[in-house]
Amino acid sequence: MSIIDLFLLQIKIITLFGGLTIVVLSLVWLERRVLGKIQRRIGPNRVGPQGLLQSLADGIKLLVKEDIIPESADKWIYWLAPIIVFVPPFVIWITIPIASDNSVLAVNNMHLGLLFVIALTVVSITGLVMAGWGSANKYAILGGLRSTAQLISYEIPIIMVAISVLIICQTTDLKEIVDKQNIIPYAIYLPLGLLLFFIAGIAEVGRIPFDIYHAESEIVGGPFVEYSGAHWSVFYLAEYIQTFTIAVLITLLFLGGWHIPFISLQENIILGFFITIIKSYGVVLIIFWFRGTFPRMRIDQLMSFAWKVLIPLSFANVIFSSIVIFYDIPLLVLSIINILVTVLIGYVLYNKFTTPAIIDAEEMLRKARNYKLPEGI
């Protein structure tokens, strides 16, 4: 490797990390504005045009704030935790391609890219547990333990769904996976897989409805409860990068990355880059929409949802895909199976949980209408 190559690599890495920071700032702004729209309020609109600089101002404020380390905290663990949470999401980005020419936009496109990504996402859990333990706070410990249980459980469906994608495209190179979707994105073949990946992905980054490990109304921020200033902002940064990573992974694995679905175009780096970004932001917007709509699940429901619904379904998905590939059945069959299973599961869940409540509500109204005062009044 010559000096010039090394220099280019440096520039790439700096550009990438700078770009990611800008993405995080834009995501924070976007989330606050979108939530504002959902909740019929305005959101930040004072600092800079449309409040665009608000997140930058917040970041500066957080960095210059005093960094308090609690007296009884386990100082080393407390201090190391944010770093462990923060580094892997950045490292993942070394191998994620966001446009067709990997020599320009991925630092190093690995052949085992997908496995690398999945392997590194697990590392952050350690940091959360360390943060929970090191804070010497009961809420933090509860949060740390919750995060372990949650993140490890939801890692499995992510891996299984990724495996079904691998089975179909027969490669782990992210760039090749995308290039195989140049006409038909895998979302068509694996709608169930997309759904599972999306749900497990939200759980993986701990956003509503799966934000139980830092649930504000219960354990007041969980592992982050004692953190302040720069340390806290690092957690915050990591969370948003993880969110964006999940969105980009969904884009690459299921939505065809830099290809426009059903249209074959000449490859264009700039256009491809923007298509990827637009798709990713679309996915992120759906995650924000969830946040504006859903309540939070409870830890036992979360676990049983993972182990009783998501994991069996993702295993089934692997089996479906391997059968289809092994016997050379047209992929459209896979998509039909997927849709059928999705509809079936949706129906079963709806019948189990929502229908009784609607019946109860009608019963309550009926009783209220037919109510007669007891005798003697």
Partner: protein, 370 residues
Amino acid sequence: MTNQQSLNSVDMLLNMGPQHPSTHGVFRMVLQIDGERVIDVDPYIGYLHRGSEKLSEGEQYAQIVTLFDRLDYLANFNNELVFCMAVEKLMEVEIPERAEYIRVILCELNRIASHFLFYGTMGMDAGASTPILYGFRDREKIQSVFESVSGARMMHNYFRIGGVKEDLPTDFFEKIYWLIDEIKKGVDQADSLLSFNEIFLNRTRNIGLINAEDAIDYGLTGPNLRASGVSYDLRKNDPYSIYERFDFDIPVGDRGDVWDRYFVRVQEIRESVKIIEQALKQIPDGEITANVRRIARPPEGDIFAHAENPRGDFGVYLVSDGSDKPYRLKIRPPSFCNLMALRHMMRNAYVSDAVMILGSIDIVLGEVDR
């Protein structure tokens, strides 16, 4: 169980409050938890104790109305009504028709405002951030009407012994028809956003159960009692003011879980709208205050008056010695009794449920601590 014993695990004490986002004020509960499961809960109150009862003994009757505003600060009109009813009962004053109607309309609006806030905080406790803003939006509209009537959004001091302070503003009727439409829209939104959300149903159904017998034993009243299946609403069972003239239903739950307590309140918003609509049709012109001396001196004696507040059966026990100040004033705050059942409801709950159960009781610390 044996495993736990061999591991020799120790229960953890988790001190929730007095400064915790979900304790709705300054309430503190010490949870004894084993992992995520709550074994026991010890509630502590009194952080907001202002001695309202004792303070009342040093104030003239007309001044006490302001103290009642500050008890259940989400249902100010209802509180004022109970106090005025107690004094009027003791003085045997006849209230003019128009004043009664004004009182009923405002009280029912206040009930709606309180339940909207409950809907919001319930969503907040469940982790949804949008319901609280929608709830506050609708409550804000109601409060703007309150402001046009009484001059204040919360601490109204509008009801007087023998009537109300002044007549309704001229544009009140325009505003209130608009408001009723908005309320109806708001309730439908609540239903579609939260009530039948699958995650919310999972979080709330069959949690914090209390059956009818226990509920009565603990002195639960209001929506909490009705959620357990007891149809006890003073507006029907012991009609005070002019409630016997209106046609409305009492929603009654079945199991007494968190969802029943939530949904009974959502339905009550609809019933209150019915009452307001009827009252608006019937309201007559005329006097708004009875002929009562400004410094009221009720005769010697004691009286108990109670009414259906958003949170339950709010009562006032008034002992008068014939002077211009009450000899003793005892308040029966509904939240105070409802909170006593907290321990019972929290059997076998999870930490996350603890928050939901406390939220579903809908306490207001202002009246718990007085």
